[in-house]
Amino acid sequence: MSDSKPEDSKSEDPDRRSFLSKVSTLTMAGGLIAGYGAFAGMALRLLYPSHGRKVSWVFVGEAEKIRLNDAIRLQTPTGQAVTITRLKQDGTADDFLALSTTCPHLGCQVHWEPQHNRFFCPCHNGAFDPTGKATEGPPAAARQELAHFPLRIDNGLIFIQVPTEALG
């Protein structure tokens, strides 16, 4: 190799140089994209809420203290508002209905309108019957309903299963 003539190496140079130049450019661009891409991915992960969801059974009160057709309102540890209504008196968890008062349409709070026997959302005129099923407005068009929460009765005490740790 060392005997090769200078003229030969000169004629090979442009191709080899061009190839090496392309390879190094691509390597450099790839490295930059991978490096900054990883950085962007980590930044996105930093901004995305990191805690998982967790649900637990939470004590509500004594079952016998809620009379037929009465309702109580409570707030879950994550800040959600829930209405628990007594619909029957069989002495089981099915006597009660636990509904979220957060409108499934766009998250406003519904309120009970006794004169219309319905929950009403003032944001976009959504209405729900006493069981939480949408009857009017955009939630009815999308066949939505107020979220239900599971209930349990142990020794006459009501417990509700709600999120205790929110995504955050």
Binding site: L47, Y48, P49, R53, Q75, T78, G79, Q80, A81, T102, H105, L106, G107, C108, Q109, V110, H111, C121, P122, C123, H124, N125, G137, P138, P139, A141, A142, A166, L167, G168
Partner: protein, 349 residues
Amino acid sequence: MASIGAWFKERIPLQGEVLRELTNEPVPNHLKRWWFCLGGTPAYLFVVQIVTGILLAFYYQPSPSTAYESVRYITDEVNYGWFFRSLHKWAATLMIASVILHQMRVYFTGGYRRPREVNWMIGMCLLLCTLVVGFTGYSLVYEQLSYWGATVGANISENIPLVGGFLKRMMLGGETYNEKTLPRFFILHAAILPVTMILLLGIHILLIRLHGVTELQFANEPADAPKHFRFLPDHFYTELTIGLVLMILLSALATILPADLGPRADPLTTPEVIKPEWFFYVTFRWLKLFSGTAAVVSMGFIVFVMFCWPLIDGWIRRFTRFQEASVWIGIAAVLTIIGLTVWEAAVEH
């Protein structure tokens, strides 16, 4: 003195021809009419927003426990706090109004047509940024209407197919409005969006300089009248006059109708009557007319059509005989927007 001047001339080589070249762009004659200067108006108001926003940021504290109290403190106790807060609020209102008027002017005079399509798209991005800045700014007050406005706004994004849930969680910092939400809105409002807008504005103005302003000919203008005038000083004086009028108008509005403060946010009670800021009345009414996903997807489609309008209009003009279709479509769109806004303003629910 001469040596100081020479020292600066050597280090900042921006004199003579270079400076004349940069500032003395010939300006088309129609820009002597002030309503053609609506592009400069939002730019001026944007500067007012930056200055007043920086002043307010010295006192504002973005957390649910402190935000409302800090706004009350600015309004009631800080020297001239009420005035600068009111200036910020009214400049935002006028800025959004002038951006919309500017866009309408560009639309109806065909200023978006070839070769200015990209600048229209940048203008659309600026319009969307302006609306989001308005939305996040309104949410920072942490009064009842701003809290529920923010909740509705974040939940709207959840209806976007595929990425909606991700967007909502990124915006709120969780599933629902929580203590991490206000800092996010504040950073968007005071850092990310203004910087984005400055960059977009830079490109917007650069493209205007590269292409020049669309030239309009009016019927009552004599044919031999000069077609252009100089940017410096003639057009600069027009912009200064507009700036002066805007400052007087803003001061008058801030004094006569100062920014008020509603009841503190209550996450457990949505007010019986809830309305967003006037520029979202159209969206709010639209959301009442259709279910969540249908409303959001249709709004997204409308924004997409607006964004691509120069290309769609070009296609219509090339392949159909409806050369002025854009005018009739524009009139129909404006009437629809006005109609929905008035409808939302006129009724409680």
